[in-house]
Symmetry: C2
Subunit: 418 residues, 2 copies
Amino acid sequence: MNSTLKSWVDVPEGSDFPIQNLPFGVFQKEGQAPRLASAIGDYVIDLVVLAEHGFFEDLKIDNAVFEQRYLNDFMALGKTKTAAVRQRLVDILDTDLDNWDASELKDFFLVPMSEAEMLLPIKIGDYTDFYSSIEHATNIGKLFRDPENALLPNWRHLPVGYHGRASSIVVSGTPVIRPKGQQIPGDSKEPVYGPSRLLDFELEMGFIVGKSSELGQTISTAEAEEYIFGMMLFNDWSARDIQKWEYVPLGPFLGKSFASTISPWIVTMEALEPFRVQGPVQEPAVLPYLEYEGKKNYDINLQVEIVPENGQSQVVCRSNFKYMYWNMCQQLAHHTINGCNFNVGDVCASGTISGKEPGSYGSMLEITWRGTKPVDMPDGSQRKFINDGDTVVMTGYCEKDGVRIGFGQSSGKVFPAI
Amino acid sequence: MNSTLKSWVDVPEGSDFPIQNLPFGVFQKEGQAPRLASAIGDYVIDLVVLAEHGFFEDLKIDNAVFEQRYLNDFMALGKTKTAAVRQRLVDILDTDLDNWDASELKDFFLVPMSEAEMLLPIKIGDYTDFYSSIEHATNIGKLFRDPENALLPNWRHLPVGYHGRASSIVVSGTPVIRPKGQQIPGDSKEPVYGPSRLLDFELEMGFIVGKSSELGQTISTAEAEEYIFGMMLFNDWSARDIQKWEYVPLGPFLGKSFASTISPWIVTMEALEPFRVQGPVQEPAVLPYLEYEGKKNYDINLQVEIVPENGQSQVVCRSNFKYMYWNMCQQLAHHTINGCNFNVGDVCASGTISGKEPGSYGSMLEITWRGTKPVDMPDGSQRKFINDGDTVVMTGYCEKDGVRIGFGQSSGKVFPAI
């Protein structure tokens, strides 16, 4: 990362989007079809305008790829081309305008964020949710099983995961309707039907697969990074009461599939490169196909706040992606060890990212320890879970040498059940 | 169903595809792009040829919809239009040629099945697998849990299901590569890595959603049939050893996601209409949102045979779809009760379809009662599970008044692990 790099576009202090970030997304301006974008400071960068003016011509990319509803075709160009587009954006936006000067076009390709609606950036094929934070898995084991044997026997041997619902993954800002379903009230053995009373968030991060693999093919931990295009914030909304009754023996289903909220900007692995850190020691040693070399974790600060309707917000969690026990390369290697294939646009999420301290737990279930330690809100009210009218806002950023690479936010307001 | 209806195209006795069936699929002839098709007797019906000659012109359907790689856009036209196309095929193919005579074109639009490669007919979005046979769930409970309390408490209250992997659903004829993964040998507590030794099939049927629903919307049992376009055979291949080690607490994952094999022809609900039967009594009574009226089960004879390489085949299962405890309308109503949305092309599978007798069990796990009662093959060998070189062939048909509506087959040959 070149931390001295500056742009001629004004980037406010604390912005998520300096010239070192340049994430990708899809936006829409009123009266215009959706198109691909990047971001700098408080502006969306309209990639179609730059393409039409020949700024990517020598990269031999069909301009039509920028006029798409989703990023999928762009990602499918491969990392060589997508990284070249990102580097070209640096050339255009940095203060050295010798070669690539687009400053005269700025009113055309820089769109104030307030005028741009960010859309779901990916046409998601399959979505897998992992369970890769040892602190989270331990907390859940303590809460619902045996505190002395909180982790199940398989947990340290493989990154446990399950298939999730792709159709209900929505972009930040989309209303979240409280789900209805079957629950067991108190000690009853008969289910009742009604709105979930235990609506929770789960603080997660997701990665997007930008390269497809064939059925029967395995992807090694060393190859995995070729397949990972970028990352986003991921709120895996969970209805704990629905989940508890339905999930044996085949896993979570309707307790999750009503909504998951992602942030609109996909931060590339190139932008995250400077923030690699060593992962935790894995004991016992993993099987050879899960071994890896180098730094595969990332130091990404994460925060969750609850914003009540017309009220003051309360931060309820400060965590970090670096806590993950299983890294993304191990997740992908494990996912394909049986020959399962990946398509461009498939998504994997991390599972709830909890740290060691209660202040770093990534779900209300853990933060309030199953409702026994409610969170105090500034207005004097308390929260065991999420109320109607509450907005859950997740943010995340990396920081080093004065450069902050941010993820924007995943924000979802909860509306009453229909 | 008009059982006296006859076609001027020769339909051999016992064919799955009389004029009363007319399923939909996608085929490819050498040197030609994929296109939509129906079937009669031993012929594929090329819908593009018929469209180009104006046979669907008055139905106001863009001919381009027949020149697609998948059925999705065709299904999205809605049941009124797709049923009209099917009725037009009846008019073209029946012996009464007064209005719609395509007999002079027969060499162009009737393609011998031997010259047509059938492709995966659906671009599948999300795939859900249910667990809706009470005999199967009871068998699994007896084998792995408590024989006295084989069914889990939630089973009779809701159609248990889980999200499956869509990317690895393949069409009949696609090789199935034995998956590798972690297993626990014998009484060991440490996993080993290697090819699955307990490869199994699961006899299921799938239905395809042909109409989308919105996030937050629920679909009632009465509305559900509007959303179900048609059905196919579904082999939910399962690696029992991988599944057993991985599946707690989040459900089946790599033990399933290496392959699922579907039959290429989607039999419409219109063709299956005459075969409706009453479902089993549900005790205790279900919650109101799962109540339904009328006959929602279907009498579909199902069969599984194992065909060894260069050997004689052995039928290992004869079952029937009518045994299902939870019907498709209940599955869809339950799946959307939390507001989960559906897209055109989403697939739901039934779960293993077992009957009451051992000869009707829908998986080797049950047929051989966990390997304790191996199946005798004609060549003197035995099978506890599926060997390399074996082909598993599933077939299915309805029959009434001398008319047989068949599903073709789901066939998959197992190849050694890579």
